[in-house]
Symmetry: C2
Subunit: 411 residues, 2 copies
């Protein structure tokens, strides 16, 4: 019988490992607590009423329907006996010959419990729909609020974190308000609305070249987003944000895009965690002393040139290729190869016709960068149907200045 | 100042009243606890993973954006002082000159508390998504269940009620399973799956002519649906359905399409309720002794030729026209006119190329009826974007034998 490869997580990394092993002499079992793969880079568009959640998700069984050596289990990992090569799950124990851990990341509130309780993260469909519901509800409630102070607090939206997610979120939120909601609320005074983007350091999009960072800053300014540098959130009680400087910002909304940590799988497996809860791996992506256990994506801690690899999709996808190749090599007795990361660069869109792109050393801004962003995301989105529906949605919103999914659904 | 018309409910009836008053010298305030209008006739397609909820809903503010004399409040009615002409709501008191009650209907479990607790209704987006999640989860769990008895119970789906909703639900559910899920679960034994349709009387689609009822029965049989006549549910504990006859059907799923009652608004308003919790109205749709209060749709109890009007969309839409006209007449001192119902007939689809239609006295079955069903529903769906996306979805599913929205989202 062929050896069994158990993969935990159906994100970019886990799915890619499963696909890359389709012709290898192994049996693949993929586990996820959800029955779908989610295209996280577009989550912020679900949060800002531009896309429907179903358009950026696809059932795992549908994606890998044709693959003979593949099986899916909707289950959560509860523990493991690594010595006995057995995973404990909500669907019972699953023995493996090779184990691939690709659990992805989750929002890191850095121990700020109050912010975690009242603020909004952006890592899964539930998060995105919660943000959409919350933002739209703030507008509905603001229309009923006679007190101007309290009305402004309901219409103040604080986005924390100046990386690509925070920048994209702030840009999309501002466009939703300035282009669409103003039409829905003719009695709204747009001067009552504020979108703040807080960044702890002195720069947005820290990994990008200066020219692109400045272009991004100018675009945010044109979109009426107040960017604050050196601003760190200390507390949030649901109606007031307290900054470390002591300043109080009355606001009902804090969207947290300031940090990611590895999903808390390692503790359940008894594996030692490095920084951000990530599992330290060998250059071959194997766990030290457990050559049959591999880690892929956000959960893997590997330093390259003295710095840890970032928690982004390209790292996960490339790691997945290496892990699949190393497992295939192991089945024929060949030694594993080390992982080499080729950084494709970074892209961030800030709204209509505006983006910054740093790809393979080249820099783009404005409309050309926006077109590149669009093409890259449509290509990577899984499934022709999703591509078609997302493109149609974008075209519709672009030409009619719309965001159609302005529904407040009950939680 | 123009008189104020307050409308409760943004369903077919309430929305139509608001629109029909657009040129009248009145100020219209529409209340709903949701911020969207929902096209309920297609809810069963959301429940069977065919459509995305966002495609059959549209924000009320977006629908009535251009109407000058219109305002929307997202709020719930908590009470009223009818003598003082004031509605009490979660958004504070709202005085009115004319009040239109169009709260719609809700699932009627006829006092079967256990069924209400464990069974699934189908009246709003939350219901539909719950059915979708539940059905798909049953399949995931069945794949992990080694015991054949228990596996079959997880794969037994009981639809209660042989009216249009029950017939459409059973047909769509059976197609989801027979055409789509068999491909997702290659290890599934299709003989383990059962779809039962229980009807208390001796006929399906009771209001339709015999020829159409028989055509519907044959189609359901071809789709492997077990239709049981004279079958009434007495109890359901989540794993076993007990019929009144004493028979036990092991099943994890009961979808309840057996009854509707008026939304429980009347008790909060101190209005006397008739059968099914509906408010007895004059032929002019006014509440007796309260000529400034009108009732529209499911909540209105009015007998025509000795039988109460059914709780269906055409009644609500036509009542809305009459109420809008009567309010316009009242503003210029003219007496109200009585409501006259013109029954357009009934349509029910049972799946691909199969439907029955009884329209203006004419009878259609099979493919022609199916095309009529499709055209009627697309025309009535509000908003060009929704029409486009639903049509695209239907075309996709039709040609590729697909149901794309097979996501289990967390509650």
């Amino acid at each position: 019988m062929n050896p069994t490869v158990v993969i935990v997580g159906a994100g970019f990394g886990g799915l890619r490992v499963a696909r890359a092993l389709r012709r290898s002499p192994v049996q693949v079992i993929l586990l996820d607590r959800n029955n779908y793969h989610l295209f996280q880079p577009l989550l912020y568009q679900v949060a800002t009423a531009g896309l429907e959640p179903e358009q950026i998700a696809k059932p795992v069984r549908a994606i890998l329907r044709g693959q003979q050596n593949f099986d899916f289990r909707m289950a959560e990992v509860t523990g493991a006996d690594l010595a006995a090569r057995r995973l404990e799950t909500s669907a019972g124990p699953i023995p493996y010959d090779y184990l691939v851990l690709a659990p992805g990341g989750e929002t890191n509130f850095f121990g700020l419990d109050a912010v975690a309780r009242h603020g909004l993260g952006l890592k899964d469909i539930g998060d995105a729909v919660s943000i959409r519901n919350h933002v739209l509800t703030c507008f509905e409630q603001a229309m009923l609020e006679p007190d101007p102070e309290r009305r402004r607090a309901r219409l103040t939206f604080v986005v924390v974190g100046g990386g690509p997610t925070g920048v994209e979120m702030a840009g999309a939120l501002s466009e939703l308000i300035q282009l669409v909601l103003v039409k829905d609320y003719p009695r709204l005074n747009i001067k009552d609305v504020r979108v703040l983007l807080l960044e702890a350091t002195d720069r947005l999009l820290g990994t990008m070249p200066e020219r692109l960072r400045e272009a991004a800053g100018r675009t945010l300014w044109r979109k009426h987003i107040e960017v604050r540098f050196g601003a760190t959130v200390a507390d949030f009680d649901g109606v007031r944000v307290r900054l470390k400087s002591g300043e109080i910002v009355p606001a009902h909304t804090v969207i947290w895009a300031a940090g990611v940590k590895a999903a808390t799988l390692n503790t359940r497996l008894g594996l030692p965690a490095g920084r951000q809860g990530r599992i330290v791996v060998e250059p071959t992506l194997q766990v030290p002393d457990r050559p049959e256990v591999y880690v892929v994506g956000d959960a893997a801690y590997l330093e390259v040139d003295g710095a840890p690899l970032p928690m982004v999709a390209p790292v996960a996808l490339q790691m997945a290729q290496t892990v699949a190749r190393n497992i295939a090599r192991a089945t024929r007795g060949a030694p594993p190869e080390p992982f080499r990361y080729r950084d494709p660069g970074t892209l961030a869109t800030i709204g209509r016709n505006a983006a910054v792109a740093h790809l393979y050393g080249l820099q783009f801004t404005g409309f050309p960068a926006w077109v590149m962003w669009l093409v890259v995301h449509i290509i990577q989105l899984i499934g022709f149907r999703n591509k078609l529906f997302v493109l149609l949605n974008w075209a519709w919103d672009y030409f009619f200045y719309e965001r159609a999914v302005r529904l407040i659904t009950r939680d």
